[in-house]
Amino acid sequence: MPAILAAAQIRLRVHWSDRVGHVVLAGIALALAAFLAGPLIAILAQSVEGRRGEFVGLQNFIAYFETPALLDSLWNSIWTSLVATAVVVPTAFAYAYALTRSCMPWKSAFRTITLIPLLAPSLMAAISFIFWFGNQGVLKGWMQAFGIAQIYGAPGIILSQIFSVFPHALMILITALSLADARLYEAADALGTRRARKFFTITLPGAKYGLASAAMVTFTLVITDFGIPKVIGGNFNVLATDVFKLVIGQQDFPKGAVVALFLLAPALLTFAVDRIVQRKQTSMLTARAVPYAPKPSRGYDTVMTAYCVVVSLLMLAVLGMAIFASFVKFWPYDLGFSLRNYVYGIVDGGVDVAFFNSLKLAFGTAIAGTAIVFAGAYLIEKTRGADWLRPPLQLLALLPMAVPGLVLGLGYIFFFNSPQNPLNFLYHTMAILVLCTVVHFYTTGHLTAVTALKALDAEFESVSASLKVPFWKTFWRVTLPICTPALVDISRYFFINAMTTISAVVFLYSPDTKIVSVTILNLDEAGEIGAAAAMAVLIAAASLGACLVYLGIGWFVDRRTQAWRTSK
């Protein structure tokens, strides 16, 4: 063989139409390099620089560990995240178990209710808990009877995080529990196995990867969340609020970079574990598995229903309090109906501008994000050539999932604020907010697109090439129409997240590009918690409206492009 191998590698000439694909692919890779890799590298660089930009090695890290206050925050972050995780994972597991493994009624209602937290910024929970248990909270006495002096601090943070992270853990666990092979349970029944033993020998081992993944995701979301500790943390410092104080308050960029790296670490770890877990989970279920269908059992179904009712009521209580408080005249003295909070928020708080900015951001992200993500996924999955470009691009597409918003936003400051950066002109514009948000939520969109594309016959492109049809024609006539439902999903995901995000954009907005979710923080700081609640409700309403519009679009798109699926 050596003689053959020694001969020059044969390479196909590249058709000009493929060349177009390579250029777009390279463009997307370049954009991700500039708007993801660049900022991350800037953080790494910043963490080993002194205040005047000189190289100081690990000096900043040493200084960090010599500051007791900062070390306290590190510990606070870790233990509150652990407690929240320890509560969320079992609660969500039981809830997911009820949804997937029982015959209880109203399943879709139970499922929908738990999605509510996703419609508003995470800090809405914090605002709501202030109304429940805060200094003037309705149930403050109950809380104190349990020996908790005040909600501000660890208790508030943990409670709010539990509420806002619940849907994320639940979705992972539902997926894990619905991947059950009925044949295992039938075999166990045939052997006369009791219920508890089946649970511990089949159900739990089957869901272990999902449990691990849910725990990691919960921990990461909690430790990197910024809005909740900002609103309800009081004097209780955590990493996320430290970053903000160090960078925005004290302009101590190097130390801010060090803290950001601490936040990046668990997220990267989660990301790595999650990738491994997913690979194992999908390989567990073979194509021949028979899906599990629960059988009715009155006592058990009743218990499960009762449990879900309790959890759902708690969720509704959190949401309901925010809505109620937003319409109250003067909390807690005059509980009459009033639009004062809305008027104040919109007129005095300048939310009218911010609201339009939020919509602009959401539309911009939904459109630009969907286009970039789908084009990228398509070119990676379905085109040929430029092979050296593909592995780094794939990594860049998955990496955003491992980067907390706070870290990304900080990286943007370091990277784009630098006068030497030719992209400096973007700083403080709406464009950078859109780009940052697209990058922040890139991975989920990318994975959705890849899944949809992988479902298509791999030979469409080969057939087109043999018929001398350039790839974009097939993309336009075949791939895109078939994938429109996925496109609608991706676009909705971008829209809702752009409406509710705080963590990355809080570093990047300017007075002209302020968005609603950020104004909530400002209102809260100004003591206008009623108006803050009103604005959170406003976001939730806008998100809900967007969901309904997307539902309509989805229905319309299905009729227009998916007729071939149903016609028989």
Binding site: A7, L12, D18, S462, S464, S466
Partner: protein
Amino acid sequence: MSSPQGEPYLRLEGIGKNFGTFTALRDIRLEVPKGEFVCFLGPSGCGKTTLLRIIAGLEVQSAGTIYQGQRDISALPPAQRDYGIVFQSYALFPNLSIYNNVAYGLVNRRAGRDAIRTRVSELLKLVGLSDSPAKYPSQLSGGQQQRIALARALATSPGLLLLDEPLSALDAIVRVHLRQEIRSLQQRLGVTTIMVTHDQEEALSMADRIVVMNQGVIDQIGTPMQVYREPATPFVADFVGKVNMLAGTVESAGRIRVGSRNFACASCGGAPGRSVRAYLRPEDIVARPIEAGDPNVIDATIDKIEFLGSYCLVRVTASDLQGQPLTVYLSLNYLSEMGLQSGSPLKLRILAERMRVFDA
């Protein structure tokens, strides 16, 4: 496509393909004249599909040159080659109607609307599906989808038609029917065709010539009859059709000894005493006519009769051949006429001139 006399339409010279350290194809040489129907036949993993994809430009060969109609296409991208292809999955565009699927390659040629319509209906008639141009692929049966894929591949009148296991996704009856349909279509159009298959019956019934491949190399190129009657290697003898394998030794040039018997056999050479294997088809061992004094008649005992309909697969032990087992086809009529059943003795005549002998 005019090629001078004797010049092959497709020529592969020394095609090799490595995936890392694994050699998928080694030094493949093949010439296909214009209008010929060639089958690449071999077990899965023998490299036949890889070779087809290299011809299509969907894989890149590690070494070697490909000429199509005297044009060196070795480094051309698929879009610059001249072929139509049908995949195992058909890869019909599910969201386009039958009409639009077939017209897919025509639209790009800037042909007029009417010209396209005429061509599509011509093609649909050709594959016998003119009545449902507005349907979606999912509304058709597997066999019908197959024909649409064929029509789409033929729409632009390519010089070469590539078929990648086109029948393997169909059920047995449709498969047999479509075999003949594809074959007669190919003959009518005179399009040079290469089909990849692992089904030897398919290859034997359809091809002008069969390329038998094994582990990345070509074992034999020949007409179906040559491949069946004169297999070039033990692999070919074993893979194509049923075969009996007898262990023996060379008696002298042109004679082979098996057990206590020896047979005249043209393909048997080498030094006396060398151990060899003789390959013999079941139909080359016959029960009648047997004449007294025929040197090639052996005594055997029936072990087992497998009923297949008008013929039975009969396993026998030949005491003359050291008790080596043999499989023969005997007609049901003969078996009942002679009252044969398991344990019955019978005489069989070996058509020794059909024997193929290879080194052990």
